[in-house]
């Protein structure tokens, strides 16, 4: 694989891999980004060992899992997920095709179909990168109401993504 081709792989998969890394690191965005960076470097250094018949995003997720296990071994305070739990996350990922870069376009489309109150909550909290308290204040609702709306929104978005997958499982 050439450098330019790998550059395309990085560009196409960076966001989905960051999302995956966030899940397995317990939501730490900064840590997730660092691990994804390390994984890309490791992948490039070992690109000659990659089996081109495999799905590269799956291979990269494997590197990410290994990188996180390394972090957990070095730091006993970090909790690594068990093999069964990682398998479960992997299954959920592929169920909604969150391993493909097109997931964000589909997610944007699903967001457009949300009811207004849920859409506003998602926009304020996620796009504004606000805390629950700040977002609730901006929406003039209490924190518990916002959390509930966000949970309902995430469920609705997931169901929408499941309905719009392109491949057969």
């Amino acid at each position: 694989m050439s450098r330019e081709e790998f550059s395309d792989v990085v560009r196409n998969n960076h966001a989905t891999l960051c999302a995956y890394a966030r899940v397995i690191t317990g939501g730490d965005g900064v840590r997730a980004k660092e691990i994804v960076q390390d994984a890309f470097v490791a992948a490039w250094n070992n690109i000659g060992k990659f089996d081109v018949t495999r799905d590269i995003s799956s291979w990269l997720r494997g590197i990410i899992r290994n990188k996180w296990r390394e972090v957990c071994r070095r730091n006993i305070r970090e909790v690594s997920l068990s093999h069964d739990k990682l398998e479960l996350i992997e299954h959920q990922l592929t169920e909604i095709e969150a391993d493909r870069p097109e997931v964000f376009d589909r997610l944007a489309h699903c967001r457009e179909q949300l009811p207004e109150t849920l859409a506003a909550s998602v926009k304020t909290y996620y796009d504004g990168e606000l805390s629950t308290q700040e977002a609730a204040a901006r929406l003039r609702i209490n924190g518990a109401t916002l959390r509930k709306r966000l949970e309902r929104a995430r469920t609705a978005l997931r169901e929408c993504l499941e309905r719009n997958v392109s491949r057969i499982h």
Binding site: S7, V41, D127, E129
Partner: protein, 468 residues
């Protein structure tokens, strides 16, 4: 109770949404980069280049550019930055590669997204002396939601620069500001009683001026934002007490560069967090804060705000909605200075629909007291917790204090203002030399505990030595 599988599903969606927001933000930044690259290069090709001897730069310090993964795998992932625009081709022999900070202005951008986008972006750019501030140029940008302007801080005269190559290259960080800056005009309260200024208190301009002076380079007037010079220093305002979120401070003193004028220094101080405060507690004390000053035409003939030079005309700025609102955190402080020509003008009727304190249509029982007032400050903001609108206001009365008898902070702030005004070549300073500025700056050296003010004096000395 949710099952573990449901929890992971929820976590996954949460992470996807967060990544989507981050991705959208980075996409905008990439678009900004593209616009800068295409605009600057196009302008460089249109204008004749100057045969300068190249200043050697190191590849070291730069402001952060949020491009995510690009840095790990090298510049090849981002050929826009390190490609033929910068180091190859005939352009590079005549253009100077420099780190340039661009100020970004967003127009029509989604407000939620805009708060997360950078206001300044630094790039290593080949620079030619081009000026992009024409309104038609702003409208023809490749990214329709944004206007980017860039120009060199240096004039077309290459003889003003040192042509000696340094053995150890040092990075040169120059801040560019969009377009040519136009100082605030004199205004009369009869026709323009209301004034405002941004509550932002950045100080990048002063840092760049300091750097340029220390490097022995000329200070371009467009590098100078006087309000950022004034706010590069802290001043001792009283802290708010009780239910107060702010203290509004104003004092009037004689103008050291014009016997007929006066200076009004305005300071706004937010609540100051103690060292024992929990760092996790939000320090936000006000949202969408904006200041407005109404001048009394019975005491003020004309006034001008020192600094806050505009790229747009006053009419355009008014049509665009006036000064922007700002979220303010504890400890925030901003200082502004007005130069005032005092007078007792003829009383005039207000315009229809205009609600003014000093120009009521009917005689007011409070008019006698109001005649003594120079101005009224009004600070509007929203409580960050419940969104309730709040207003703090204060009126300035009394006579001007002689400059030499004013408080230390007022003397120093006015000296910094004069420093900036001279660098910008503003009018009204005939006969004022750097000797005068130095004398003002040194007036309080024996009692000033502020080390940064001592450094300011060094800069003035350097400028004074140049005028010889």
């Amino acid at each position: 109770m949710k099952s573990q599988e449901e929890c992971y599903q929820d976590d996954l969606m949460d992470c996807l949404l967060k990544e989507q927001a981050r991705k959208d933000r980075e996409q905008v930044i990439c678009e900004i980069e593209h616009a800068i690259m295409s605009q600057t290069l196009a302008q460089a090709r249109e204008h004749p280049t100057v045969d300068w001897k190249r200043l050697i730069l190191s590849g070291a310090v730069a402001a952060a550019v949020v491009l995510g993964f690009g840095y790990i795998l090298g510049a090849s992932l981002h050929p826009k930055l390190e490609g033929p625009h910068t180091n190859t081709g005939e352009d590079s022999e005549k253009l100077i590669p420099m780190w340039v900070t661009y100020r970004v202005e967003y127009v029509g951008m989604d407000k939620e997204l805009e708060t997360k986008l950078p206001r300044e972006i630094a790039y290593k750019r080949p620079i030619a002396p081009v000026l992009l501030n024409k309104k038609e140029d702003r409208q023809n940008t490749s990214f329709p939601e944004m206007a980017i302007s860039a120009f060199s801080p240096y004039d077309d005269d290459p003889s003003r620069f040192s042509t000696a190559e340094t053995e150890q290259p040092r990075p040169v960080l120059v801040t560019q500001f969009p377009g040519k800056l136009v100082d605030q005009n004199w205004r009369t309260p009869l026709t323009q009683p209301l004034s405002s200024f941004s509550l932002d208190s950045e100080n990048a301009s002063y840092a760049n001026i300091r750097h340029v002076i220390c490097e022995g380079l000329p200070v371009s007037e467009n590098l100078v934002l006087i309000e950022e010079c004034i706010n590069a220093f802290s001043y001792d305002y009283p802290a708010p007490r009780g239910d107060q979120d702010f203290t509004l401070n104003a004092n009037i003193l004689t103008c050291p560069w014009n016997d007929r004028h006066m200076l009004i220094k305005i300071g706004i101080q937010g609540r100051v967090m103690s060292a024992s405060d929990n760092s996790n507690v939000s320090s936000l004390i006000a949202k969408d804060a904006a200041i407005q000053i109404e001048f009394n035409p019975q005491r003020v003939e004309s006034y001008r705000l020192i600094g806050y030079a505009l790229c747009l005309s006053d009419e355009e700025r008014t049509a665009a909605g006036g000064s922007s609102c700002l979220d303010i955190h504890a400890g925030h402080q901003v200082t502004a200075i007005y130069e005032v020509i005092p007078l007792r003008p003829v009383f005039a009727a207000p315009k229809p629909g205009q609600r003014l304190k000093y120009q009521a249509a009917a005689p007011s029982p409070h008019s006698a007291s109001r005649v003594q007032e120079w101005l009224t400050l009004k600070l509007n903001y929203q409580d960050p917790e419940n969104g309730e609108s709040r207003l703090q206001q204060a009126a300035l009365k009394g006579e001007a204090i002689m400059w030499h008898h004013a408080d230390v902070d007022s003397r120093f702030a006015s000296t910094v203002a004069l420093f900036g005004m001279k660098l910008r070549g503003m009018d009204g300073l005939e006969g004022i030399t750097w000797d005068h500025v130095l004398a003002m700056a040194q007036y309080d050296t024996t009692i000033s505990p502020h080390q940064d003010r001592g450094e300011f004096i060094s800069l003035v000395k350097a400028l004074k030595s140049r005028q010889r």
